[in-house]
């Protein structure tokens, strides 16, 4: 079990509650599940990395439990009760200095401290669809949802949000534009935040500027965008919608750089590799696909029996010197052999229901 879990480079969560690890170099997938009794209320809602070294995966389930899975040992090590079904599904999980941050749909954002039972709570508004943590400033989190604009919170000063986005101006019919933030991402090395909405808009906000309205707004497609992911090279974003259309958008001008074909069902999770131009996507059509971002071709495809909710990519790849694109197996193998454990964290989230699956992106690990 431990051996199998150490091989896996992509972690995917499913609707049935089973955590699946996929080893792309060996082209195999392994199921990790807690016990033989599986129920639908253990459906994975969100996934997150438990620590910077990507040795632990945190899984938020529908019934309110947060399970910790250790990739080194290959078993579920811990399970905590963090809420219940009445508050809604988990929309975000994060870890800050050994305390766990959870956010549910009803808007309750809680910081669970290790050991001590006191928790800090913030009410971020109802109808939350996503909560994300800033990878470079771990005490900042952003939340957004349906009719709940993007808000940036500092956990050290929880009474008021640092930044609340203002809705865009009325449209050409002088009607109010509805708000539905579905996924959020922090752009690295800058203060900006990218969001994608259920009304097929992609917006970039800059909290450090006095402008509370989006700095950049573009539209893509006609269907709600469910997830987004930022690739390693900045100034672009990959978004997916409920029809299975994946597009790479340029953030400088807001134009579509290209579309990725292949998905047949709604995209639930998107995750870009932190350094390689590689994208893992999973969705309701029960496939995990790995695409290369440079030429937008499919590299790997894995089928699973149940619908997928979120994915995390991990990779012990630090950098690939010779990018032999033709033989991606070799690339992956060479990645495994490099001993520097630059794990990319991708958290798998398994929202099987309405919340979009986020494919976690491999973040560039901040070397401590």
């Amino acid at each position: 079990m431990a051996v199998k879990s150490q091989l896996c480079s992509v972690w995917v969560g499913s609707e049935t509650g089973i955590l699946k690890g996929v080893s792309l170099s060996k082209k195999q997938a392994f199921n990790f599940c807690e016990m033989s009794c599986l129920t639908r209320d253990q459906e994975v809602c969100t996934m997150a990395w438990g620590d910077p070294h990507e040795t632990e995966v945190l899984i938020g389930c529908l019934n309110g439990r947060v399970k910790t899975f250790s990739t080194e040992k290959g078993i579920f090590t811990e399970s905590r009760e963090c809420g219940d079904l009445s508050q809604g599904r988990f929309t975000g999980l994060a870890v800050m200095d050994s305390s766990l941050i959870t956010c549910v749909e009803s808007g309750l954002l809680k910081v669970w401290n290790e050991g001590s039972s006191n928790t800090a709570e913030i009410n971020v508004g109802t109808g939350v669809c996503r909560m994300r943590q800033n990878p470079s400033q771990r005490h900042h989190v952003a939340t957004g949802g349906k009719e709940n604009p993007l808000k940036l919170w500092d956990l050290q000063r929880p009474d008021k949000s640092i930044f609340t986005a203002k809705n865009v101006a009325n449209d050409w019919l002088d009607l109010r534009v509805p708000v539905w933030v579905r996924d959020i991402a922090f752009i690295q090395d800058s203060n900006k935040i990218v969001t994608c909405t259920g009304h097929h808009q992609v917006r970039v906000y800059d909290p450090s500027s006095p402008q509370r309205r989006p700095v950049l707004e573009t539209q893509y497609g006609e269907y709600p965008l469910t997830t987004l992911s930022l690739p390693a090279d900045q100034a672009s974003v990959v978004v997916g919608n409920t029809h299975g259309q994946l597009a790479i958008l340029d953030l400088r001008k807001g134009l579509v750089r290209g579309c990725i074909k292949g998905l047949a069902g709604g995209v639930r999770g998107l995750q870009c590799h932190p350094s390689l131009p590689v994208l893992a996507s999973c969705g309701l059509d029960r496939f995990l696909r790995v695409h290369s971002l440079k030429d937008r071709t499919l590299q790997h495809k894995v089928h699973f029996p149940s619908m997928l909710c979120g994915s995390d990519t991990a990779g012990e790849v630090e950098e690939v010197k010779a990018e032999e694109e033709e033989d991606e197996d070799e690339v992956w193998d060479s990645m495994e052999m490099v001993k520097e454990h630059q794990g990319k964290r991708a958290t798998c989230e398994e929202p099987s229901e309405a919340s979009g699956n986020r494919v976690k992106r491999k973040r560039k690990v901040a070397k401590q």
Binding site: E15, T16, I18, N31, L38, T39, R40, G198, Y223, P224, T226, T242, H243, G244, K261, G262, A264, G265, G266, L284, D285, R286, K301, H303, F304, P305, S306, M307, A354
Partner: protein, 322 residues
């Protein structure tokens, strides 16, 4: 002078010169249509003759070998050549079994609910569609036909749920002919959108039997092998009540071939143990799946489990999805 070094007698394969050297004669260069047509006919006859000779030769060899002849080759059909689909369900897969055991249809398959179907159409249907709906209502037990009255589906659905309907079937009509079907499983189930074609009403069927009775028919689902096919198959199965009345000897068949689903409704009678006679009753139609959406009908904001994308999925003649 002697001809060039590589001059080989052209085979009179005058159909396609290819890129041989020296350039041989090609049919497409004849500008005169009549002459070109004549040459083409001659070419076809030549080919047919060769094929016949080859076949005779093979038959002679086979007869000469007698018993020791190798078995005949199986002719290639598109179904034979079908690309193996990795989503084909293995009957012993427990994860699939668990998934199916807890999905939206589990209430039906655990015998907790009985099907109740609401059949309606798009607004202001014309004669053919209306008759089709009436005939469908005789085929599906416990089905009720209602006039659409221009109501929005999203408003009809909560009312159906409160009246304990399990299915909503909407037949879409275009130019007086039914051409689409939206099948929505009710409490919160998946919604399938099909293209309907080749609708034959009862009076257009030849040698048909008398009208179907009120007995619950048996259901046959053929060839739904992939995971998507399983979901659709279960959708169709949940339309009909669990316990078929074998007394009625009626059977509804959903046969999937090459991603088209053929619906037939027959009455059978066993003449003796080995021979069955069948009479076709009821309407017949063909369905093709366009999209399967998770949740009840919401085409704008719903999440799709499978969407038919013609340019990506129909590029190979040997790949099928259901």
């Amino acid at each position: 002078m002697s001809p060039g070094p590589n001059f080989d007698i052209p085979q009179e394969e005058s159909e396609s010169a290819g890129s041989s050297f020296p350039p041989t004669f090609s049919l497409s260069t004849i500008k005169n249509k009549q002459r070109r047509h004549l040459m083409f006919m001659k070419l076809k006859q030549e080919k047919r003759k060769q094929k016949l000779e080859l076949r005779k030769k093979r038959k002679k060899e086979r007869d000469a070998l007698g018993d020791k002849a190798p078995p005949k080759d199986v002719p290639k059909t598109i179904e034979n050549q079908r690309v193996y689909d990795e989503t084909t369900v293995d009957p012993e897969d427990e994860e699939v079994a668990f998934d199916e055991g807890t999905d939206e249809f589990s209430a039906y398959f655990n015998k907790l609910t009985n099907p109740k179907v609401l059949i309606t159409t798009s607004d202001r249907p014309r004669g053919r569609t209306v008759r089709f709906c009436e005939q469908l209502a005789t085929v599906i037990p416990n089905a009720h036909v209602y006039y659409r009255r221009g109501l929005a589906l999203k408003r009809i659905i909560p009312q159906c749920v409160s009246r304990n309907f399990t299915y909503l079937m909407v037949i879409n009509e275009d130019r007086k002919v039914p051409n689409g079907m939206v099948l929505c499983h009710l409490p919160d189930g998946p919604t399938a959108h099909f293209k309907v074609s080749s609708v034959r009403l009862r009076k257009e069927m030849k040698r048909r039997g008398k009208d179907p009775t009120e007995h619950h028919p048996e259901v046959i689902l053929n060839n739904f092998s992939t995971r998507l096919g399983h979901s659709i198959g279960r959708m169709f199965a949940a339309l009909f009540p669990h316990d078929p009345h074998f007394v009625g000897r009626q059977v509804a068949t959903f046969h999937n071939q090459r991603d088209f689903i053929f619906f037939r409704f027959h009455r059978y009678i066993f003449k003796n143990e080995k021979r069955v006679g069948i009479q076709e009753l009821g309407p017949r139609f063909t369905l093709k799946l366009r999209s399967l959406q998770k949740g009840t009908f919401d085409s704008k904001f719903g999440e799709y489990e499978w969407v038919h994308k013609r340019h990506e999925m129909d590029s190979s003649r040997r790949k099928f999805h259901l």
